[in-house]
Each structure stands twice: as structure tokens, then as C-alpha cells.
Amino acid sequence: MIAVYVIAGIIVVLCIFFIFAYNGLVRLRNQVKNAWAQIDVQLKRRHDLIPNLVETVKGYMKFERDTLEAVTKARTTAQQAIGSGVGAQAKAEGELSSALTRLLAVVENYPDLKANKSFLDLQEQLTSTENKISFSRQFFNDSVLSYNNQTQMFPSNIVAGMTGFKQSEFFEVKAEAEREAPKVSFEQPKT
């Protein structure tokens, strides 16, 4: 008689454990998905800031048309790259970052622009958006790490195997464009 109770008790405990482990995996996987969506939110915010930036800067930087055009073009490419796969998107975003960096490096030559309040506000927004993009990527990678740990570490890996939770990939910045240092040209503006 006792043996039946013991076995029933063990089965109950196992079921409870299974439920907890499964729910934990679901929660972590959803966190990964949510974190991925957050990155897109921040990228889009950056896209929205750029027309404003170009307008503010255009009046002051009459001789930097190429740089400004490069930024606008890079933004359009990045917007079109949404939905066409992680690799293409990362590359387009990396090029946009480089174009922005080049533009802001050139701003050093224009003290009037640097003192302009709306430009300073915009620059704060841009800085913050860049930070948010990198933090959302960081959080995504942290979430992937937690999730992968949970799918691999002992007891929950059994549950993961049984119910089909697979590992996720980290977001690696492979686009070379994002890593290269901006090349600043010191040519005098042609009068």
C-alpha cells in the first residue's frame, strides 16, 4: 500500500517540476523574442531622427553636400532592408552608423552649428539612440545566454529536449562597415 503512495507522490513531484521547467523555458524564449523586437524599435527610432538632423545641418554646412547625401542614402537603404534578413539588415545599419559618424566628425569644423541649441538637442537624441541600440542588442544577447543555459543545463535540458526548445543564436556584429574607423578628410571646403 505504502509503495503505491510513494510512487504516486514521486509522479506528482515530477509533474510539478516539469510544469515549472517548461514555463521557465517559455518565459525565457519569449524574452528572447521580445528583446529581438526591441532592437528593431530602436533602429526605427534612429531612422526617424535622421531627416530632422539633415534639415538642421543643411543650412550651416553648405559645402558638405556629399556627406549629407551619403547619410540620407544610407538611411533609405537601411529602411528598405527591414525584413530582408538579419545579415542584410545588420550590414545596412552598420553603413548608416558609419555615415552618421562621418557627418558628425565633420561638424567639428562648424562652430556656429555646434552652438546651435536644436542641433545640440538632436545630437543628444542621436547619442542616446545609438546607446539604446547597443543596449537592446546587449539585452538580446544576455537573454539568449539565459535561454541557452536553461536549455542545456541539467535538469531543464530533459524538458527542453522533450518539448522541442532549441538554442538561439547570438546577435554578432559581422558587418565590417560597422567596425571600421571613420575616415575624416581634412580638405579645405572649396569656396
Partner: protein, 387 residues
């Protein structure tokens, strides 16, 4: 967690001992739990708004102070909070910040104007990261519950010891048989009444200090830049201002002990925060940005000490540090100390109802709302402005 359990056990012991001294151990236990339950209810319905109102905190939106709001939002993303906390500024020259909110979905972060003026962006990120991690790690809830346990122990001990002293003469019930046993239980109960509140308080402070270490480590993990928080703490430690509206009950939630004496070594056992110099030393000794790195840096100066990070935080992999703000690549000029002071000052004037009028000569006129006049003259250049 062991400390919290210890506090809980202390509470149950006190209840039981009290009950025993009066006749029934179980009844004492039940009474202790009932008192604890009601105190929980009362604390639950007391809003954070009371604390914020007491501190005279002014709520700000994204347009009022973009840099501060952006930094809070960045930390919200890095920590994975669901909803950005409400942001408040406290008009006080002291250097401090706190977080409040039992539920991460309904939380607030406040910072003094003094601190906001003094810190650059990296340091501000470190401080806000520390506060946001208090919210994320549910420290407010934890410390509130601990203070309730502590309060219950103190109440029971106070009333219990008074009652015991006054009823000590008569043997209440002789169901326990010999008067000897009754006397011993009596003595133990009295000793417990006296010692329990002291022990409970020490445990409470120890818990608070541990959570502070965890918050520092979390901030380093979110920002990947512990030097930011370290240098902010340096500035905070060097200041001698005392925060005017600090509250004993919420001292653990501030970033630095608001009741710290500016001179002399802090009495480590009865302080809610670890010594600032030690926090700075640990942060600067970190080789990476993960909790394990914080643990290692902590153990460098505490050879005999036990663990400071909860076990669950040590399982993640290695996390690298980053260099100082990559925004330097974007060429963003950081506002100077003077500009930051002006920024915060103007915002506070505006929030108090003053209108800000920029005169062409560079002066900013702050006009009170109910001036009664239709125009004002600039005191520097004499130009008239219509309100």
C-alpha cells in the same frame, strides 16, 4: 536569503516564546503571525507617492530633461524592465538618488539636482543603473518586507516584555507542572525579548548591505562600465551635504547612506550601506562586467568573507567591459559643469511656474507667474520684453 529566513525564524521564536511565557506557545505564534499580516496590509496600501511627496520630488517628462530621461530609458532597456520608471528630480544640493516601487511595473526613480549637476553621462548611467537594478531585483519589496518583520519583532518584544514584567509575580497557569520549568521559560523569554530586536536589526542592516553590493554589480553588468559608477561614488563620497528630506524607513533605497556622518569611520554593522571607499575599490578591481567578476573583486579584499552575490547570478558566462562612452565617436560635446547646472536650474524654475524669457544680451529672465505686470526690463541691457 539565509538572512531573511533568519529574521523570519527570529520572529516565530519570539512569538512562540512569548506565548509559552503566557501559557500557550502556539497561541503566541498565531498572534505573531496575525500582527505581521496586518502590518503587511498597512504597508501595502501606503503608496510610493507619499515618499515622493515628502521628498518634494518633481516629476519630469522626456522633453524636460532629455539627457536624464534618455539615460533612464537606456538603463530600462539594458535591464529588461517592462515599463520605464517615472523620473523625478529633487531640488536639493545633496548628492543622492533613490528608487521606489514594490512592483517593477509601477516604479519611480528620483535624483537630486545637486547630483544631476555634478555627474557626466557615464557616471549618470552608473548611478541610474544602480537605482534601476534596485527595481529590477525587487529590493524595495524585499526591504519593505524585512522592515515589517523587524517591526513586528520589535512590537512583540516591547509589549511582551512589558507584560511579562508586570505579570511576573503570579504563576498564570500551573498546567506545566513545576514552577521551576515556568521560571526557566520565563527567563529565556525575557532574554529573547531583549536580544531579538537587536539581532533583527543587525540582520536587517546586513541584508541591506548585501543588496547594495548586488545593485552595484548589476549596474556594472548593465552598463558594462563599472568605472562610471566608481567615479560617481567618488564624487558622492567627497560631498558633505546632508539630504534634508531623507527618511529612516527608506534609507536602504538611496545610493549613499543619507545619514552618513561626514567625518569618522562609519560603524559598519549598523549602516544600511557598505562604506563608499570599499564599493569604489571593488568596482575598480573588476576584470569583466559580470556578477562573477564582482564576486572575485569582492573576495580580493575580504579574504575570509563569504559570498556576496546570490548563487543564481553566478551562472552566466563571461562578460567583457567596454571603454568610455562610445558616443565620443559621434562627437557629441558633453555639457560642462556650468551648462549642466544651468540646465537643471532652468528646469526647476520652469516647473515651479516661472516663465523663462531669453534676452538677446545672453541673460535668461525668470519671471514669476503672477507678476501682474505686462512687460519686464532686462536688468543687464535694459531691453523691454512683453510677457
Amino acid at each position: 536569503m539565509i538572512l531573511v529566513a533568519a529574521m523570519g525564524i527570529l520572529l516565530l521564536l519570539v512569538g512562540y516564546a512569548l506565548g509559552l511565557a503566557f501559557g500557550s506557545g502556539i497561541a503566541g505564534l498565531v498572534i505573531a503571525l496575525v500582527v505581521w499580516f496586518f502590518m503587511n496590509l498597512i504597508a501595502y496600501f501606503q503608496g510610493d507617492s507619499i515618499l515622493l511627496a515628502m521628498s518634494r520630488a518633481i516629476k519630469i517628462g522626456p522633453d524636460d530633461h532629455p539627457r536624464l530621461y534618455n539615460v533612464v530609458e537606456e538603463m530600462k532597456i539594458a535591464s529588461g524592465l517592462e515599463r520605464i520608471p517615472d523620473v523625478y528630480i529633487i531640488d536639493d544640493p545633496a548628492l543622492n538618488a533613490f528608487a521606489t516601487g514594490r512592483d517593477p511595473k509601477k516604479a519611480s526613480v528620483a535624483i537630486t539636482s545637486g547630483l544631476l549637476e555634478k555627474l557626466n553621462r557615464d557616471e549618470l548611467q552608473g548611478v541610474i543603473g544602480h537605482e534601476v537594478s534596485h527595481i529590477k531585483n525587487r529590493d524595495v519589496l524585499l526591504m519593505t518586507m524585512c522592515s515589517i518583520i523587524l517591526g513586528t519583532i520589535v512590537i512583540l518584544a516591547w509589549y511582551g516584555s512589558r507584560a511579562l514584567f508586570f505579570s511576573g509575580g503570579n504563576t498564570r497557569r500551573s498546567s506545566k507542572g513545576g514552577g521551576q520549568a515556568q521560571l526557566i521559560i520565563f527567563a529565556v523569554a525575557i532574554i529573547l525579548m531583549i536580544l531579538a530586536p537587536i539581532f533583527a536589526q543587525l540582520i536587517y542592516f546586513a541584508i541591506s548591505r548585501k543588496r547594495e553590493y548586488l545593485a552595484d554589480a548589476s549596474s556594472a553588468q548593465y552598463t558594462r562600465y563599472p568605472e562610471g559608477l566608481a567615479s560617481a561614488l567618488e564624487k558622492i563620497g567627497a560631498s558633505t551635504y546632508q539630504l534634508k528630506t531623507a527618511n529612516q524607513a527608506t534609507a536602504p533605497m538611496y545610493i549613499s547612506n543619507p545619514f552618513r556622518k561626514s567625518s569618522g569611520a562609519p560603524t559598519a554593522l549598523t549602516s544600511t550601506h557598505p562604506p563608499i571607499q570599499e564599493r569604489i575599490r571593488i568596482l575598480r578591481a573588476m576584470a569583466g562586467a559580470s556578477y562573477a567578476d564582482y564576486e572575485r573583486a569582492y573576495l580580493q579584499s575580504h579574504k575570509a568573507g563569504g559570498r556576496v552575490m546570490p548563487a543564481s547570478a553566478l551562472t552566466a558566462g563571461a562578460v567583457g567591459l567596454r571603454s568610455a562612452q562610445p558616443e565620443a565617436a559621434l562627437g557629441a560635446p558633453q555639457p560642462s559643469r556650468l551648462e549642466r547646472t544651468r540646465e537643471v536650474g532652468d528646469l526647476l524654475w520652469q516647473k515651479s511656474g516661472y516663465r523663462i524669457i531669453d534676452c538677446g544680451c545672453g541673460t535668461r529672465l525668470k519671471v514669476p507667474a503672477n507678476l501682474g505686470r505686462v512687460s519686464v526690463k532686462c536688468p543687464h541691457c535694459g531691453k523691454t520684453h512683453n510677457i
